[in-house]
């Protein structure tokens, strides 16, 4: 007689059979991601108009200490938080919609946040960060829900058409935003808000970003459930995972993270799309394994883009969103071509 085997409470060895048999590629990837991250992070601390060299860290004068703690460190933290969380948000979204090309930036989520920011500015004035955040989150949730609702009603067979619908939707929302901004003379501000840029990050003005770290941790705790949901509704139900609820929670996490990041530092195009795709291409789709690497790679991607943005026209800065757009766009096209070749 065999009964169903219940949860075993006995001392579970930390290393399971699966862990022991991990393929070498994994550690290698983590090492590369960590190395790139550390390198770019230290570089980032010493790039800027204010004079600060590694040697100064040992004995900083007052001005240098101020630059370090009010500007450079907050900026680095903001980059790491936003980069990792945005990449993870994209990873979760692509899994739950079961489409590699769906991310907050291709589902229209980002554009809904933009509309939310304009609406918030019109109702609360331009200064209330909390107001923008709240309305931005609300609009992101509604927008993503609408996109998913639409997907369930359209029978789309081509994986590439799905994100096109999202981009189209984003275009419409963005047009509404522009119209409103035009009417109320906010056009320039909208451009500044939407384009990802870390130059405005100062101590006291980025702290809400820590919320995305919490969201990323929650996503990691639910990683297995997201993996199972990504296998499809039948597999999920068979394994006792409440499919609809898990999908809703996951998409909500992605939307909230997107909204907080766009409100805080603006949008970095392609980040949530390209990074998860590159990482899963190399490592497969088991989220518990892939999610931490995606977070690291996302942070590294933004860091590198930011350092580039600060050095390309030194002493001026170009917005990091622009660099991200160029780098990410090239990678995106490469991914699209690759998907087509594989389908043929």
């Amino acid at each position: 007689m065999t009964r169903t085997t219940g949860r075993r409470s006995g001392a579970a060895p930390a290393l399971s059979g699966q862990a022991r048999r991990r393929r070498g590629v994994q550690r290698w990837h983590v090492a590369v991601a960590l190395g790139a991250l550390a390198l770019a992070a230290s570089a980032s601390l010493f790039v800027g108009v204010g004079d600060l060299t590694p040697a100064d860290l040992l004995d900083p004068d007052e001005a240098q200490a101020r630059v370090l703690w009010t500007s450079r460190v907050p900026r680095l933290l903001a980059i790491l938080l936003a980069g990792s969380a945005m990449a993870v948000a994209g990873l979760v979204m692509m899994h739950l919609t079961r489409n590699r090309f769906v991310s907050p930036q291709t589902a229209g989520t980002t554009e809904w946040v933009g509309l939310g920011i304009v609406v918030a500015t019109l109702s609360f004035g331009g200064t209330s960060v909390l107001g923008k955040m709240t309305i931005g989150v609300a609009f992101a949730l509604v927008g993503t829900a609408f996109f998913v609702w639409l997907l369930q009603r359209l029978v789309l067979t081509d994986v590439v058409v799905v994100p096109l619908v999202g981009i189209l939707l984003g275009g419409v929302v963005s047009a509404v935003t522009t119209f409103l901004a035009y009417r109320f003379d906010l056009l320039q501000s909208v451009d500044v808000w939407m384009n990802g840029d870390f130059s405005g990050v100062l101590a006291g003005r980025y702290e809400l970003l820590w919320l995305v770290l919490a969201a990323t941790v929650v996503a990691y705790l639910w990683a297995d459930r997201f993996s199972v949901a990504g296998m499809g509704e039948s597999f999920a139900i068979n394994l006792g995972v409440p499919y609809t609820r898990v999908v809703m929670v996951g998409l909500a996490i992605s939307s909230i993270v997107t909204a907080i990041i766009v409100v805080s530092v603006g949008s970095i195009p392609f980040l949530g799309l390209v990074v998860p795709n590159l990482v899963t291409l190399a490592m497969g789709d088991n989220l518990r394994r892939v999610l931490p690497v995606t977070a690291l790679t996302g942070a590294a991607f933004v860091l590198v883009c930011d350092v580039l943005a600060r050095t390309i026209r030194y002493p001026y800065e170009v917005p990091v969103g622009m660099i991200g757009g160029v780098v990410g766009g090239v990678l995106f096209v490469w991914l699209l071509l690759r998907a087509r070749n594989r389908a043929l």
């Binding site: 169903t4 399971s16 059979g17 699966q18 139900i237 068979n238 497969g284």
Partner: protein
């Protein structure tokens, strides 16, 4: 035991399950046979709560599948559908290990890992364990899915055409394995099969369906007759006794 009580299901006015009542006793293999579109998959999906019925109810060991919490049922009943398009790129081992999810919630214990290894060995998936699913042949993939469902270690196993894409050797192996599970572990196995001879040789009971209704059910020896097969499939089939088994020959 699986009790199906007057289950009906319609798609846009067309009744695909028409007041089906059926009790599948504990232990043994039950084969579900019937022509394409007879409603076999629909019945299996309703019985395993993948699809809600319009009316009627299904109980597994007394638990109503519509109301029992998902994780509880997932430790008692496992199901594999006929088609399993999976876009997720998992390795075979990762997929099979997810079969233990209802028990360990993703953190594999030593016992879980042992069962994963055992399932991989049973289906001769050892050499393929670290390959991604999209790098397998159709039959290899099918074996991986069945291995995952087996790894769930449930008392009730529902399989919709598990022999899909399998070569002769692996088909026989799979049926022997199911037979062993039923005999030695007293598990309840329900399968949809198209080959009536597989049903005849390996199952204890046969359930025959036609156009959403039950045509007959009972011990294999009683149902494996030319009359019943004609009634179910509209084909003339000779049934011969061969090495103690009843074999249907439709090619006459």
């Amino acid at each position: 035991m699986i009790e199906i009580e007057s289950v009906s299901k319609s798609y846009g006015g067309v009744r695909v399950l028409d007041d089906v009542s059926l009790t599948i006793p504990t232990g043994g293999i039950t084969s579900l046979i019937g022509a394409n579109g007879a409603g076999k998959s629909t019945l299996l999906s309703v019985a395993s709560r993948l699809l809600p019925a319009d009316s009627g109810r299904v109980r597994v060991d007394g638990m109503d599948v519509a109301t029992t919490p998902g994780p509880v049922l997932a430790r008692r009943l496992a199901v594999l559908r006929q088609e399993n398009a999976m876009s997720v790129r998992l390795t075979v081992r990762e997929l099979v290990a997810f079969g233990r999810f209802p028990h360990s919630g993703g953190r594999l214990t030593r016992e879980d890992s042992r069962q994963v290894d055992e399932a991989l060995a049973w289906f001769e998936l050892g050499p393929l364990a670290d390959r991604h699913l999209d790098q397998l042949s159709g039959g290899q993939r099918q074996r991986a899915y069945v291995a995952m469902v087996m790894c769930q270690g449930t008392d009730h196993v529902l399989l919709d055409e598990p022999l899909n894409n399998l070569d002769m050797r692996h088909a026989v192996q799979m049926m022997r394995m199911l037979r062993g599970m039923a005999d030695e572990l007293e598990r309840t196995v329900v399968l949809v099969v198209h080959d009536v001879n597989v049903a005849s040789c390996y199952s204890d009971r046969i359930v025959a369906m036609r156009e959403g209704q039950l045509v007959a059910e009972g011990p294999t020896s009683e149902l494996m007759t030319p009359e019943l097969l004609r009634k179910v499939f509209d084909v003339e089939v000779e049934v011969h006794e061969l090495a103690g088994r009843r074999i249907g020959v439709p090619w006459s």
